[in-house]
Symmetry: C2
């Protein structure tokens, strides 16, 4: 608190360049007007250098960016800001940030990391049960027809004994595995490397994993190695009763082929929280009862929003507080 007040008394507002904008921005703004000047680049159509010029801001005065995946933090942006030292994103993924350029310029990137792992895992399991049991389809049916028409979608399918291939066994994948073990599913996984101390069967080849699986759950980060990791070949190997759950990023799947496979019955169903061209969702899926579609909602809980607010606020505070002065040691 002493530091906060000192900071406040100095009346030196730190400039925060905001892309996105992150969902927590209104709260951050309301609580930190005495600390930060919020430069809302997201609200302008101008190129960044013109925007800064209009605001009378010297690009070399900007040390911090706050962003979310809706807007790119490109190499051009990073090069324009010679004093940039930190980028805080309120997302788990960092694919909207040019990490190579950050690395070249010594810019620290702070993401939500594992903060959302449990939320995303809850959503993955929820989507899976929903697809297997056709809960959303049944709910639509009941609301539309009431008792006048019996629910005649094909029978649901239980989770017990299902072979679940997790693509990307990081924090999120691990939380998914933990949950699905309680349903007596059989867990397998693919990741860049076999994990030490993990007893689930490992497959270095995704097609092979799909061939052994009833369900694929996509939990990995999107990068050049994982873009379209789920090809048509993978889906055909998964087969006509197979289900795909995607809580990672839309572009992990070749979406055009996914739509084709679903429409042709080449796979059994899908639960999708993410899409290749968000917020667009392929319209062909709207008529299918074997898919469940949610609009990238897996981290939208009140609890997570509170957590991310605290994480972002603390990251920025730690950065700016450590800059202007050396905090005196306890015994000084």
């Amino acid at each position: 608190m002493a530091n906060k007040h000192k900071h406040n008394d100095n009346k030196e507002l730190q400039t925060l360049l905001v892309f996105g904008p992150p969902v927590i921005l209104p709260t951050l703004e309301a609580r930190n007007l005495h600390k930060y000047r919020f430069l809302k680049a997201f609200s302008s159509q101008l190129p960044l250098h013109q925007f800064l010029n209009m605001q009378n801001v010297d690009p070399s005065s900007i040390q911090a960016i706050l962003c979310n995946p809706l807007q790119q933090v490109s190499a051009d942006v990073i090069r324009l800001l010679p004093s940039l030292s930190i980028i805080v994103t309120n997302s788990v993924g960092t694919e909207h940030i040019d990490l190579s350029e950050c690395s070249r310029h010594g810019v620290q990137v702070v993401s939500a990391g594992a903060l959302f792992a449990e939320d995303v895992a809850d959503m993955a399991v929820g989507l899976l049960i929903d697809v297997m049991w056709k809960i959303s389809a049944a709910d639509r049916h009941v609301r539309k027809w009431g008792p006048s028409k019996p629910f005649n979608l094909s029978l649901g399918s239980k989770l017990e004994g299902k072979r679940v291939g997790i693509v990307g066994l990081g924090r999120i994948g691990g939380e998914v595995a933990k949950r699905l073990e309680a349903f007596d599913c059989r867990i397998m996984y693919h990741s860049r490397n076999k994990k030490p101390f993990v007893s689930y069967p490992f497959y270095s080849n995704v097609v092979e994993l799909a061939g052994k699986s009833d369900v694929l759950v996509l939990c990995c980060a999107l990068n050049e190695q994982t873009r379209h990791i789920i090809t048509k070949e993978v889906m055909l190997a998964l087969g006509k009763d197979g289900v795909i759950i995607n809580v990672g990023r839309g572009a992990l799947i070749d979406e055009k082929e996914l739509v084709w496979c679903l429409m042709e019955g080449e796979i059994g169903g899908a639960g999708l929280d993410v899409f290749e061209n968000e917020p667009n969702v392929p319209k062909e899926l709207f008529v299918l009862d074997n898919v469940v579609l949610t609009p990238h909602a897996a981290v939208d809980t009140q609890e997570s929003t509170n957590k991310i607010y605290e994480h972002v606020a603390a990251s920025l505070e730690a950065f700016f507080l450590s800059k202007p002065q050396i905090v005196p040691a306890m015994n000084d």
Copy 2:
């Protein structure tokens, strides 16, 4: 096989009086025409004694009834059939059968018992995640509006740390608890008596359990003690953020009060697979985005249908085979 053939060779068809009808009847019929004469009481509007008369069947020749919960097996029915010895129902619940009358006449009742416990538990967890994360509501929204309108339902809520009160900790309740522990929920329960060897906190009073819970999951059987066990008082104790999941029987809840509590925001949401007057679902619920409605679908999996077929067929076979003759011992 030897016994089966002997039975077949004798050409003595056993009479099976069928109420309901159970979903497995077509399969049972197709595979057992050489064993049973199927008397389809469900397809007639006549009183049972007239129906039997029309079919030239002596009531005292009937030893077995096959049924499901759609049709009552009343005391009158049981009294009409002096040789009735077994009632096989393809349901978990037996509230459609007059158990006291069965007991007085020494009629054995065979239900699906714990066969469906895992299915029903899957469904309970699926409904809970769906309500907490508003999956079905989001899916409806995406299908209706696509990207033209952002999904603006209030934020979802994670399962971690939620206090879940299970009403009825039998096989199904136990399977629900096992699953929700993997989501780091805190389990409590109410049942007739405190279970030995169970470490979850026990509440003898449902209102008190509701007051301590974020979620109530109803898994108990319907009987005179449990009818309307979830009163308005229980729901008010659960509170405005509380969620009720019902995979037991509709009449466990005072449905009129449930509808009122949901409409007035006195509870936070509900996931309902069962209703008080099935197949009717209260129409007032159709406009609410905090409820998920499925048409008593929790046991409708292909795997369960196969299981129940085997269970029913084996129960009937065991009964009839044990009747006409003593099966010779292996060393005869």
